[in-house]
């Protein structure tokens, strides 16, 4: 099998291929990761395993989206 189809379904089943943080580590570093992302800094280099975890964990991904949007809205009003 040289090419797999329906990546979204398979990612949901099999999760990320690369090493990832787990939920507690993700929560610990979420604020730093969000600010690095919003600054355009190399967040994925600074916090390895975060991107993979956010791909694999819908709950933490939602927390990330919320925090990013809230901080962004704060920054836009100040």
């Amino acid at each position: 099998m040289d090419r797999l189809t329906d990546d979204d379904t398979l990612k949901r089943l099999l999760g990320p291929a690369e090493p990832e943080l787990l939920c507690d580590e993700c929560f610990e570093k979420l604020d730093e990761y969000v600010e690095l992302k919003l600054q355009g800094a190399p967040a994925d280099e600074r916090i390895p395993g975060m991107r993979a975890h956010l791909e694999g964990c819908p709950a933490c991904h939602e927390d990330y989206d919320s925090l990013r949007d809230l901080v962004q809205s704060d920054d836009a009003t100040t």
């Binding site: 099998m1 329906d6 379904t9």
Partner: protein, 229 residues
């Protein structure tokens, strides 16, 4: 540990304080993270700083409610605001209890926000699933439906899905199968399943993570190429 506290705040702490000129000046002084930490630790400033922090956390919790309102259209607004206030109260307890953990890697407000968003998100996910059944039977396999691929792609997908099914049966423990079925197959939110099984998001995700690693290893051993996934 990701969990929601049930500790309640005294009513006085939960209410907004009236703003005065002096209070407004203090707010200016709280504009940076060092000032936040200092005020929260200084006896003369602490009460006002806690009230301002609570306002901040209420705003964050309401922000989360507004993001999820569409999925909670069957819940009346007053109940949602109560959930936001409860989330802010518990987030305040968590923030004050973890002040020593704040290392300045982000602004203090960003660090504090994440506690309110977590508390609100957990409550709202659980509320959205309150009347729904949580299916944890591996036999339920909704993702095996037509994937929309052409005949060749569909055959590849069917072959891989069949292999995954075999790996689930062969490699996973009973607990891993249940958690995998609920989370990965049936889309039950982590926090909802954690609540039903009386465990934590972190513990459940670790189970899912270990199950996924086992499945990947077994599929690779059987010759499936998974590098691009």
């Amino acid at each position: 540990m990701l969990s929601t506290s049930t500790v309640s705040l005294a009513p006085a702490m939960s209410s907004r304080l009236p703003m005065s000129a002096a209070a407004s000046e203090r707010d200016d002084a709280l504009a940076d993270s060092t000032a936040w930490i200092s005020a929260l630790r200084h006896p003369a400033e602490r009460d006002h700083a806690i009230a301002r922090l609570h306002d901040l956390l209420v705003r964050a919790a309401r922000f989360e409610v507004s993001r999820r309102r569409a999925a909670l259209s069957h819940v009346r607004g007053g109940e949602l605001d109560d959930l936001a206030l409860q989330a802010a109260d518990d987030a305040l307890v968590a923030v004050l209890g973890k002040l020593d953990d704040y290392r300045g890697a982000s602004r203090f407000t960003t660090w504090a926000y994440k506690f309110a968003l977590l508390e609100a998100g957990v409550r709202l996910r659980r509320r959205a699933w309150q009347e729904r059944e949580v299916v944890i039977e591996p036999e339920v396999w909704p993702l095996m439906a037509d994937t929309g691929q052409g005949p060749e792609g569909h055959a590849e997908m069917s072959e891989l899905m069949g292999a995954i099914t075999e790996s689930i049966d062969a490699c996973l423990t009973g607990h891993q199968r249940e958690v995998f079925a609920a989370l990965a197959l049936n889309g039950v939110p982590l926090d909802v399943l954690a609540d039903r099984l009386n465990t934590t998001r972190g513990a459940l995700y670790k189970t899912l993570h270990d199950a996924r690693r086992k499945l990947r290893a077994d599929l690779a051993k059987r010759g499936f190429t998974l590098d691009s996934i």
